[in-house]
């Protein structure tokens, strides 16, 4: 398979300034780079929307935007961050790293790889263009619940089509990962010798293939309800609006693990390097990832405790959800055991990894609280939930992505980044992310619902604080942009190994690595 792929390639590398190179590329590194830049651009667009939201929420009263526009900001912000930032960033990392980590030349299906990336800019342009349509952008929340979502104006079919495109792109990316990992490993690299990043991505890819079609089915049913007279979700026609929620969350809960499992792989690569000690409990990490993936299919209705489920259903989903805390705990304990009695240094990737461990755990703790059905009646649809998922997603997934960029950037571009600026970026991000999201626990508990453009006076102090934090966090990310560009353009040359104790095949290649990673398979000890 690898020879077929290699034959298709030209050996020379076109100039980075040629549009054709990027448009027609089938090279895993080029495509990885495209994904990562796309993700960073979307991160700033989605972040800009978040700042519009936080600006309106700085004080009680309506100051800047119309409530309908506010709702479309929360909706678009979420869709962009989930489908346009975290997922493409991980696919970008997979593209860059998986062939190098398993000792392959490239991804198994290079042409499909090109497609799966180039669909995305079209999908998101279409999605963003709906903001200018009659009736405005989608404003029913990223969860797209009918009947509300069916009240969307001209935007609806475009939003649904763009979601189909995003799904298609993810599925193709996932198939590629599976094909690569299962077929292109260097001789001697058994499954249980694969780096954890590869393992977590393999499992993520299966989750993607399993649930993206479910989402596609759900949104298609929305489409036919709106335009073709079906009544899947319309009680007056014999349908059930809650059915959509079941479909959505059957996709949605595995989706949140799609957003976090590759991070687990990243953290499991970074911590051992900087602790100068092998990862503790490799096998249990693999099994924990597998159990989390399995459990993620049987907990979906914990997002729906208030829709009116039978007692037995609520109990089942409560117990199943609580169980997820066990393998998640195992992961955290293993990372700490890896650090234990190591010889740690604290370069930027390690700082972000440590920040991840602490703050992701905080999000896991609130997740455990949310799992308790009777108490979730109070938490549900409040800012407490907003705090929960932002802790797992921002200092969780996003920190893991940023950590990976700092960790592998010297490998990718051959230059070291500026350590001082990296550390500054870490500290500012950590301080501001907590100023932004920690107070949301308080207002949520005190009774502030989510997705509201204006609020009662007793919530004002913490909201003002969260807005200050959000601006601080947003502007700190400009440092990141600067550091990355600076490193790409030059700087101290990186060695092949880059980090003193880095282990894995990618560190045996030069920095930057050759255009086709391993033309002869490496030998695995």
């Amino acid at each position: 398979m690898s020879t077929v792929a290699a034959d298709d390639h030209h050996d020379h590398v076109e100039s980075p300034y040629s549009i054709k190179r990027w448009l027609f590329t089938t090279n895993h590194k080029d495509i990885g780079t495209l994904y990562l830049w796309f993700s960073l651009i979307m991160f700033f667009i989605g972040g800009f929307m978040a700042l519009i939201i936080r600006t309106e929420l700085f004080e009680p009263g309506m100051q800047f935007v119309d409530p309908q526009f506010f709702n479309s900001m929360t909706t678009m912000h979420a869709i962009i961050m989930v489908f346009g930032v975290v997922m493409p960033a991980f696919t970008g990392l997979a593209n860059w790293l998986i062939p190098m980590m398993v000792g392959a030349t490239d991804m198994a299906l290079p042409r499909m790889n090109n497609w799966s990336f180039w669909i995305l800019p079209f999908a998101f342009t279409m999605m963003l263009s709906t903001l200018f349509m009659d009736g405005g952008g989608p404003a029913g929340g990223w969860t797209l619940y009918p009947p509300l979502t069916l009240q969307t104006g001209d935007a609806l079919p475009f939003v649904i089509l763009s979601i189909h495109f995003m799904g298609l792109s993810s599925i193709m990316g996932a198939i590629n990962v599976i094909a690569t990992v299962l077929n292109m490993r260097a001789p001697g690299m058994t499954l249980m010798k694969m780096p954890l990043f590869v393992w977590t991505w393999l499992i993520t890819a299966y989750l993607l293939i399993a649930v993206m079609p479910v989402l596609a089915g759900g949104v298609t049913m929305l489409l036919t309800d709106k335009f073709f007279g079906t009544s899947f979700f319309n009680a007056a026609g014999g349908g059930d609006p809650v059915l959509f929620q079941h479909i959505f969350w059957f996709f949605g809960h595995p989706e949140v693990y799609i957003l976090i499992l590759p991070s687990f792989g990243v953290i499991s690569s970074i911590v051992p390097t900087f602790a100068r000690k092998p990862l503790f409990g490799y096998a249990s990490m693999v099994y924990a990832t597998g159990s989390i993936a399995f459990l993620s299919f049987i907990v979906w209705a914990h997002h729906m405790f208030t829709v009116g489920m039978p007692l037995a259903g609520q109990l089942f989903f409560m117990f199943a959800t609580m169980l997820i805390a066990v393998p998640t705990g195992v992961k955290v304990f293993n990372w700490i055991a890896t650090m234990w009695r190591g010889a740690m240094t604290f370069e930027t990737p390690m700082l972000f990894a440590l920040g991840f461990i602490v703050m992701f755990s905080i999000g896991g703790f609130s997740g455990l609280m949310l799992a308790l059905a009777p108490v979730d009646f109070q938490y549900h649809d409040t800012y407490f939930v907003v705090a929960h998922f932002h802790y797992v997603l921002v200092p969780g997934s996003i920190f893991a992505i940023v950590a990976s960029v700092y960790y592998w950037l010297p490998k990718w571009c051959g230059n070291m980044y500026s350590e001082g600026l990296g550390k500054l970026h870490f500290w500012l991000s950590t301080i501001f992310v907590n100023i932004t999201f920690f107070p949301m626990h308080f207002v949520g508990l005190a009774g502030m619902p989510r997705r509201i453009p204006d609020y009662a006076l007793q919530f004002s102090d913490f909201n003002a604080l969260a807005t200050i934090g959000a601006f601080g966090f947003g502007f700190s990310q400009l440092i990141f942009l600067y550091v990355v560009i600076k490193a790409i353009r030059g700087g101290e040359k990186a060695t092949s190994q880059v980090w003193e104790n880095a282990e894995g095949l990618e560190w045996t290649l030069s920095s930057p690595p050759p255009y086709h990673s391993f033309t002869t398979p490496p030998v695995i000890k």
Partner: protein, 265 residues
Amino acid sequence: MRAYKWLLGICAIAGSANAEQPMNMPVGVTDISQGVFSMHMLALWLVTAIGVLVFVAMFYSIMVHRKSRGVTPATFHESTTVEAVWTIIPFVILVVLAVPATKTLIEMEDSSGYDLTVKITGYQWLWHYEYIDEGVDFYSVLSTPRSQINNLEQKTENYLLEVDKELVLPVGKKVRFLITSNDVIHAWWVPELAVKKDAVPGFINEAWTKINEPGIYRGQCAELCGRDHGFMPVVVRAVPQAEFDNWMAQQTVEETGAELAAVQQ
């Protein structure tokens, strides 16, 4: 105004919780809400304790096991015993949480033996209440003036949490709610009663409460329902039975009066 906000923000960082700015779940005024509150506090303290243990271990390691102190790294990388222990202990903790949670949930779901039924219907963007057996019904709409929302006028104490006509309920009686919607999904929520239930068009959900103390309890719609989702509060006024009976009698008179007037026209 802005400067004052920033200052308050900084005070909040310093941890000086303002009395008027609550930061925890209300204990509430029903047996259920109190059960839920203690469940919440139990879970909160438990995760805090686990968090402290885990993070102390982690920070100890960060402080001590660092290269700059000249340590040589150990090489261990697995231990079945340790791994079994930290799988089993969390499991036991979960059981400790699951038992009271199950109990509270079972109580919440038991709406038998009610004294009064109120049908609640969500509309974009107001609530409709109907005392089914008494034949009394009315709409309940946000009463905060637009001028306050648009910052033309000073905001008053119950900004966005006040309505033209409150839902009046007797204390000490088990009230059953039948909740539905006329358009999109809403959720009827009063934190101090620990009642939150979705209002789904075409379906009827059941919830109940038994309020222990007279008072006014404010909540909001909790499910995104469109443009004015943030502007459809719920206000419950709980009064002693006698007062409730008076109020009800007056409503009945008013309603029949209105109906008579309508018939006579």
